[in-house]
């Protein structure tokens, strides 16, 4: 073993034992599986404390600069931490919009002052971030966003509303896409990007209840909200380009994340475990030939995605369509997750009809809740249909 490999192995062991010793006990209430499901104060405080603890121990933002609250070491150390977190199934580091998108964006194109101001709070979970892209009338068609930002002296005055704002009611800052010039010849050129405070007068939020019955996102209203002009990022009219860059982080085509477990990955093994004790025609459902055939198809689908991740690192094996694997990653994972969870419920037989809250629901209704929540990822961050358009146009070169 060379020195670098040994150092990494030692580090892995250190992280593993730290996580083991510090992993919080089951809080006795349902924890979110993704950051899009944080819907109560108790969940929020629990997760905030956990993320703070992980960061204090030096395991978050490993690749970010020391002076910005990071550790200033190679990104591989963060991967080790994240792998161990997944392995030990610890709670998520929920400030994902900050850790995964806003933070990397600020790191990559922000000014030194912006880095000083924002990065540390993201890591420590002191400052929760949200994303104000979608509007009631413009979701997939983001380029038509209408929320106005008008320059007035040293401020911008914001008017309009955003919707589906994940953690909008908890956030201190928003990455905001707003229109500074309604007359611009191309609609995209009239958009600007802001690192906007949510704690000013004129900003209000209304929690929206999800199909699971829980909360997780809000509608966000701006009523003559004044934010300082230096919240503008990258100059007026640069908003679309910056928003697209943000979406690349969000959809996994570009790295740079501060790390941490963003969501609990439910894998096929969890499902198989469940299928061992459900029966159909008086026999374990795992013996049903049709179930087995579908199950094997799902196993193959999950395996193919994992293999694809590896293959994408070997250029000779991607040369037909080099961007295919990274650009279709979100589409494939999220669609797979949705189908797999639906299959799990179907396989439960009559119990598949039960939900969280019923004492007979299998695993407390875990699969039912997970299935309904799985749409968060096939809709959020660009719907599967929009993702398919992107792959068709950018990988296959089909016309718009």
């Amino acid at each position: 073993m060379n020195a670098a490999v040994k150092e990494l192995e030692d580090f892995r062991r250190e992280v593993a034992s730290w996580l083991k010793a510090n992993k919080p006990a089951d809080p006795g209430f349902l924890l979110p599986q993704t950051f899009m499901e944080v819907g109560s104060e108790e969940q929020l405080e629990f997760l905030r404390e956990w993320q703070h603890k992980v960061w204090s121990a030096g395991y978050l933002g490993m690749a970010w600069a020391k002076e910005h609250g990071g550790q200033g070491v190679d990104a591989i150390y963060q991967s080790v931490v994240d792998q161990e977190m997944r392995r030990q199934a610890v709670p998520i580091c929920f400030n994902v919009i900050g850790l995964g998108w806003a933070g990397p964006l600020i790191n990559d194109i922000g000014t030194e002052e912006e880095k000083q101001r924002y990065l540390k709070g993201i890591l420590s979970a002191e400052d929760i971030w949200c994303q104000g892209f979608s509007e009631p009338d413009h979701g997939s068609d983001l380029g038509n966003a209408r929320t106005r930002a008008e320059r007035d002296g040293d401020d911008y005055v914001i008017n309009g509303s955003k919707i589906w704002t994940t953690m909008g009611n908890y956030a201190k800052y928003m990455i905001l896409l707003a229109r500074t010039n309604p007359e611009a010849e191309r609609k995209y050129d009239g958009l600007s990007f802001f690192l906007a405070p949510m704690t000013v007068d004129g900003v209000s939020t209304r929690p929206i209840r999800k199909l699971t019955g829980e909360y997780g996102f809000t509608e966000t209203f701006f009523d003559n909200a004044r934010i300082p002009a230096d919240c503008l990022m990258g100059g007026e009219g640069a908003g679309w380009k910056i928003a697209m860059k943000t979406l690349q982080y969000e959809r996994g085509a570009e790295a740079g994340a501060a790390g941490g477990l963003a969501f609990v990955r439910i894998v096929i093994d969890d499902l198989i475990q469940q299928l061992r004790d459900v029966t159909r025609d008086g026999k374990p459902v795992l013996e049903d030939p049709l179930i087995r055939d579908q199950l094997v198809s799902l196993i193959m689908e999950e395996k193919a995605i994992s293999l694809g991740d590896r293959r994408s690192g070997i250029p000779a094996l991607t040369s037909d369509y080099p961007m295919s694997l990274p650009l279709s990653n979100k589409l494939r994972w999220t669609e797979y997750a949705r189908r797999m969870r639906q299959f799990a419920i179907n396989a439960q037989g009559a119990d598949g009809a039960l939900f969280v809250g019923d004492d007979r629901a299998r695993e407390g209704g875990f699969w039912q809740r997970a299935y309904l929540n799985s749409f968060s990822a096939t809709i959020g961050g660009g719907t599967s249909q929009v993702q398919a358009n992107i792959v068709a146009e950018h990988v296959l070169g089909l016309p718009k």
Partner: protein, 373 residues
């Protein structure tokens, strides 16, 4: 242990060179026009092309150097098979490589002469099937008391071009391999069939008391046959993956040029999104075949390798079937014609599905491997 199992993916310098070379060679000598030239002729390839492949040492892939082979693992045939498929080339190469693997794994000493012949450029094939049930063991083809081969085999791939034929047969209570010199067969022993995949050739063979060059029996035969079937599944999977990629190219080209209602039809999502499905299914197949290729060595196949080969076959032939199916549909009236290249792919797809077991067959075996322990 996760049911997903190994996710190894290795690709070394030698394979990379082979892939580059195979890609450009096949693109140059094969392709849709070349495939069409041979559609209604007895051989689906030009003998000159075969000679060039031999000169590059391709028939020696998977054979040890002392037998005249390349010393590369049979996994190295994956990029070659993929390239052949992409160029829709129908040559006896895969049949030959597989016959060599079967002999090598059963008893390389008894078959040394044949293996050296193969490494030197002789085409070979395996005669196995006796009924429409491809996975059944031989029952009616026997080696009689006089040591002569009697019986009939069906749908033997590349029988017409083979110099050596390896026949599965019953010898006493055992399953045995009879190795034949094709020139010792009766004149009318080989009867070509008409295949749905008109880019490949197969024939039935009748044996009326032929004396084998060698007979191999014993436990190693069953193990070798099992590996042969898995490797066959893998190489057909690789070939199908290449064909699926070519089919996607042909289809996408059409979607970018054909206009209806004043727009390029490629801008319609009813065509766009299934095209993405073609791409992702093909991508999965490529991942599986390269994964399997990374795992293979010269040892008998273990569970991970078996899983990998079966997954590759199930995925790749389904990917090609879907691609061929959509290719016909997306070409409209043109798609229904002989002249449209979509037919080559959908026919290839139906043929490939049946070779070495269809997708459902492999999923059934995978279920046992993955879910029962």
């Amino acid at each position: 242990m996760s049911v997903i199992g190994s996710t190894a993916m290795r690709f070394d310098e030698e394979q990379s060179m082979l892939l580059d070379y195979a890609r450009s060679f096949c693109a140059d000598r094969g392709g849709l026009n070349a495939a069409r030239e041979h559609l209604e002729t007895p051989l689906e390839y030009s003998p000159g092309v075969w000679d060039e492949m031999v000169a590059m040492g391709w028939t020696g892939i998977g054979l040890p150097e002392e037998l005249g082979g390349s010393g590369l693992s049979i996994g190295a045939a994956v990029p070659v098979a993929e390239s052949l498929g992409k160029a829709l080339m129908g040559t006896p190469l895969l049949s030959t490589l597989l016959a060599a693997q079967l002999l090598l794994r059963a008893d390389s000493k008894a078959a040394a002469e044949v293996l050296e012949g193969i490494a030197g450029g002789d085409a070979a094939c395996v005669a196995e099937l006796e009924s429409e049930d491809w996975s059944a063991l031989p029952r009616t083809t026997v080696i009689d008391d006089a040591g002569m081969l009697q019986g009939q085999k069906r749908l033997v791939m590349d029988a017409t071009s083979a110099r050596w034929i390896v026949v599965t047969a019953v010898a006493g209570a055992d399953t045995a391999l009879a190795v034949l010199d094709a020139t010792t067969l009766d004149d009318d022993a080989i009867n070509p069939r008409v295949l749905i995949d008109n880019t490949h050739r197969a024939a039935d063979i009748t044996f009326n008391g032929v004396t084998p060059l060698a007979v191999i029996s014993g436990a190693s035969v069953l193990a070798a046959l099992r590996d042969y079937r898995l490797l066959g599944a893998l190489l057909v999977a690789a070939e199908s993956t290449g064909a699926a990629a070519a089919c996607l190219d042909v289809t996408v080209d059409y979607l970018k040029t054909r206009k209806q209602f004043g727009k390029l039809i490629g801008s319609y999502q009813a065509l766009k999104h299934p095209s993405v499905d073609m791409l992702t299914m093909m991508d999965s197949a490529r991942s599986f075949v390269y994964h399997a290729s990374s795992l293979l060595g010269s040892e008998p196949l273990d569970k991970d390798q078996e899983v990998a080969c079966r997954m590759a076959k199930a995925q790749a032939t389904d990917a090609l079937k879907f691609a061929g199916d959509r290719a016909v549909q997306f070409h409209g009236g043109m798609g229904f014609t002989w002249d449209c290249d979509a037919q080559l792919f959908i026919r290839r797809a139906q043929g490939a599905q049946q070779q070495f077991g269809d997708a459902q067959h492999h999923r059934q075996r995978l279920a046992a491997l993955l879910l029962d322990d």
